[in-house]
């Protein structure tokens, strides 16, 4: 009982977070930046920040993760980090030769008040940024937002720095995938390609953080959106942004800057959300939905039909980032399951909470929701009234272990299993994989708990 210290009685905590269900902005910015081809993410802060972010991303993706740091010292913390960033830009371009340096700030540099654009302008004026190379930035203090808003900030920076207004529109559709796995990004791109669409996806970490073993260490793997493609996002037909919190800012910025109209949708997790995604592409680009996608959709419905008896009324506890949490909740409700405890570490606003509340309005149980909560509270709810299934990142395993509850890993980070970076959970195919995972967890438990008499071969 590793979490034996969790008390069943809930007391209001005002000053304290226990077992956080989120992490800080810079790591999200770093993840987004890795989705630009040939980009060196740069952490403007102490050496520890980027060491932790690189380690956390490495544990999740089991891939090398590069980033540089301003390596703040006490001096920098008193006099500002300008000299460090100038030197960093110089060193990075001369030794690591990226196309782009994507600077994100930290609590330290934000509190000191470093002005990144001013420092970058000075670096450019002094010739430290070679011709054809770029330095972009996002403000990501750790004392505000979460890894999701950090991701959103760096994604928006791609628009702010690169998107170019054009006099005529192309037929290309921009896709902003949100803070999802490289496998999900590839799947979203594949579905659009099945529909015959030209797309630009940003950021795009597929091929960067789920690459093959090649026998070579490459600082800049082949994947990622190119600067050239980012420029062209400004002349696209429209933008489909997936996930309001992670992708909304960038989509709206592109609309304001280059008049590219946008549709901001839920992450395409589950049948309904994927239908809406496909329908949006269909209407935006005026293309037909191909038989291949209709076929995949039919397969997904088929699985649900075959197994619907096992989903009915199962109580589920979910911890996840807001965009994932909302889409998953709607999916579970559509399966006739009962998502009863919903926790997001990130505060995502009143509107988000309202949407979440609406999604579970028909669930015939008392539903508890905490937006801006932690895993400790989540565990306390479960102690008070248990659930049949848990869905969340690897930290949920402590609760699953202590309370002996079936558990499906989903979200960030996943530190103890593989697969998430290779197999999607978005789209119809991803939906099938999620169904398989949920059913495996529920049916394995049923098998385990069956007596000799009730043990069944056919399920």
């Amino acid at each position: 009982m590793l979490l034996r210290h969790t008390t069943t009685e809930i007391k209001d905590r005002t000053a304290l977070t226990v077992n956080p269900a989120k992490t800080c902005q810079p790591i999200g910015a770093m993840y987004a930046a890795l989705g630009i081809h040939g980009c060196m993410p740069h952490s403007h802060g102490s050496q520890g920040c980027y060491a932790y972010h690189r380690s956390a991303l490495t544990r999740h993706y089991k891939e090398p993760v590069i980033a540089a740091t301003s390596a703040f010292t006490e001096g920098a913390s008193v006099f500002g980090g300008q000299a460090n960033l100038m030197q960093a830009i110089d060193n990075i371009f001369s030794i690591y030769n990226p196309d782009v340096i994507a600077v994100h700030t930290t609590c330290l540099s934000e509190t000191i008040g470093d002005d990144i654009p001013q420092i970058v302008n000075k670096a450019m004026a002094e010739g430290k940024v070679p011709v054809g190379k770029y330095v972009i930035h996002a403000n990501t203090p750790s004392y505000a937002g979460s890894h999701i808003t950090g991701f959103a900030g760096m994604t928006k920076a791609m628009v702010d720095y690169f998107a170019e207004t054009a006099s005529s529109r192309t037929k290309t559709v921009n896709l902003i995938p949100g803070f999802v796995e490289p496998s999900d990004m590839a799947e979203i791109r594949r579905m659009a390609a099945e529909m015959g669409l030209e797309t630009i996806m940003f950021p795009d970490t597929s091929g960067v953080l789920n690459g093959p073993m090649t026998g070579k260490y490459r600082m800049y793997p082949p994947g990622g959106v190119t600067v050239e493609a980012l420029r062209r996002t400004g002349s696209s037909l429209g933008t489909v942004a997936l996930g309001h919190l992670a992708s909304g800012d960038a989509a709206r910025a592109l609309d304001v800057k280059c008049k590219v109209p946008c549709q901001i949708l839920d992450l395409p997790i589950g049948l309904g959300a994927t239908d809406r995604f496909v329908d949006t592409l269909h209407r935006m680009a005026g293309v037909n939905v191909p038989d291949s996608l209709t076929f995949e959709r039919g397969q997904m419905v088929d699985i649900i039909a075959d197994m619907h008896q096992y989903f009915y009324n199962k109580r589920v506890g979910l911890v996840g980032d807001p965009d994932q949490l909302l889409a998953l909740t709607k999916f579970l409700v559509s399966l006739d399951m009962a998502p009863v405890y919903l926790v997001s570490g990130t505060s995502a606003g009143k509107k988000f909470e309202k949407h979440l509340r609406a999604a579970v309005a028909g669930v015939p149980h008392e539903v508890k929701i905490k937006v801006g909560g932690d895993m400790y509270l989540f565990h306390q709810w479960i102690k008070q009234a248990p659930v049949d299934l848990l869905i969340g990142n690897s930290y949920v395993k402590y609760i699953a272990h202590d309370e002996d509850i079936p558990y499906v890993r989903h979200g960030f980070p996943i530190l103890d299993r593989v697969g998430h970076s290779y197999f999607p959970t978005v789209g119809y195919r991803g939906g099938m994989r999620l169904l398989e995972k949920i059913l495996d967890a529920l049916l394995d438990r049923k098998d385990r708990d069956a007596t000799d008499i009730t043990f069944e071969l056919v399920m």
Partner: protein, 457 residues
């Protein structure tokens, strides 16, 4: 890949054994913009104190620092598991503006009331150093109120390197030392310092000392308990492992309590045996200890030698690259790898000092690359040049090795099996064998091309 450029300032951090003169630069702050594998002060303090299982560890700062250090180090406890939870004051924007002292005070009181810990450590992160919270004052006040030690750890990330974090941790620990009763402690007693019980290593080491007839008063900090640390000044000797982490505490205890210390390593047969013999020799007034030690060493080595010999035959002549945090670890690794008949072609550390690198130079064969504070490009460049078969490092190095198609062994805090002592050496040899000889490397393109592997199709 052979044309990877090396930054001019970095050239002084790289030495090829045999080349003269030897003037490796080290102990410097990393260059801004370099992809170093190092961490920060907070990281150093956190890893040293974290294994104290009945203490409260509260991270005062924005939530990230707590999230990234939540149960990432497999420091096992035989009892309480309080250290495996993650507590943070989760400082927000308004706290940064108005200060976080009140929040810290409330959080501490709340936690101490709920968990009744034996002591509390409060870690300062970067931002606390900038906004100027008087953490020490809050700690004093809560300590008085709640009648337990509440110890500030001055671990603001930017105030140096991981080494400075070790020092800050030692300073906090030292405040506990000297507070407990020592009457019952044997004259043949030690404290184990710098052993963090990763995978249960401290338990192995402790069992050796117990078999030798030496009492272990406190293990710092593996499977650590506050009350044991409070009476640790009653031990006759401090036995300190690892180069940097806890030497500061040993120095402080020597100065105030006159406790002598010796430095040891428990990695590899040679170093483990030397450690145990050195302790036995220190207690020369009790010859029975030495007799028992000799019997113990003989028995342990005999038990594992047959399997070690088999592994040795299978890994002989393979080439290893080592990149570790403290240089002291590299010394032991080189000896252990040599015992297995392997060649060390690259040895580097994040935080070695002049003396460390001189020792490394003297230990290594001609042509071995010695690196201080290296980056992934340098590591991959020399791994290819030296055709290493095995890389020994930590979390950030593992995927680099795998991407390049060579074996890997974790000698950092993510290791799952104990590598200390005699059975640890056997575990290490097994792990090296499993990884170096894994059939997967036959599919690595470079090997396949060289005719050493099977064709990918």
């Amino acid at each position: 890949m052979a044309s990877i450029p090396i930054l001019k300032e970095r050239e002084k951090h790289i030495y090829r054994k045999g080349a003269e003169p030897f003037n490796l630069t080290c102990g410097q702050h990393s260059l801004a913009g370099v992809v170093s594998q190092r961490a920060c002060v907070f990281c150093g303090s956190r890893v040293v104190l974290y294994p104290i299982a009945d203490a409260l560890h509260l991270i005062h700062g924005p939530l990230g620092c707590a999230a990234y250090t939540w149960d990432i180090r497999g420091a096992l406890s035989s009892g309480p598991e309080l250290h495996r939870l993650s507590f943070t004051t989760d400082l927000r924007e308004k706290d940064v503006i108005f200060g976080g002292e009140k929040k810290l005070q409330r959080a501490l009181v709340e936690l101490i009331d709920t968990y009744q810990p034996r002591a509390a450590f409060v870690y300062s992160t970067c931002i606390v150093g900038i906004i100027g919270d008087d953490v020490a004052a809050v700690c004093r006040q809560v300590s008085r109120e709640k009648a337990i030690p509440v110890l500030p750890v001055h671990s603001e990330g930017f105030k140096g390197t991981k080494k400075d974090g070790y020092k800050a941790a030692c300073e906090a620990l030292f405040k506990l030392v000297g507070q407990g009763p020592v009457e019952q402690i044997s004259p043949w007693s030690i404290n184990i310092l710098g052993e963090f019980n990763i995978g249960g290593e401290a338990w192995i080491i402790k069992s050796y000392y117990e078999k030798m007839g030496v009492e272990v008063v406190a293990t710092m900090t593996g499977d650590g308990r506050v009350d044991a640390i409070r009476r640790s000044h009653g031990a006759a000797l401090n036995v300190v492992q690892c180069s940097g982490a806890m030497t500061t505490l040993a120095d402080m205890m020597q100065a105030r309590y006159g406790t002598p210390y010796i430095r040891v390593s428990y990695f590899g047969l040679e170093d483990t045996s030397k450690a145990l013999y050195d302790v036995a020799a220190h207690f020369g007034d009790n010859p029975a200890i030495m007799a028992r030690t000799q019997a113990l060493v003989r028995g342990e080595i005999n038990a594992i030698t047959p399997e070690l010999q088999k592994i040795k035959a299978a890994v002989q002549g393979k080439r290893a690259a080592i990149y570790v945090g403290g240089a002291f670890k590299a010394f032991s690794l080189i000896k252990a790898l040599r015992y297995l008949g392997m060649d060390v072609v690259l040895a580097g550390s994040q935080t070695g000092n002049d003396a460390d690198y001189e020792t490394l130079r003297d230990m290594c064969d001609d042509g071995t690359i010695i690196l201080d504070d290296a980056n992934p490009l340098e590591l991959s460049k020399y791994i290819i040049e030296k055709q290493a078969d095995l890389f020994i490092g930590g979390v950030k190095e593992r995927p680099i090795a795998y991407k390049m198609g060579i074996g890997f062994c974790d000698h950092n805090h993510e290791r799952k099996t104990p590598l200390a002592g005699y059975e640890g050496m056997l575990n290490f040899a097994r792990e090296v064998y499993r990884s170096v000889n894994s059939p997967v490397w036959r599919f690595a393109p470079a090997r396949a091309a060289a005719g050493k592997g099977v064709s990918p199709c």
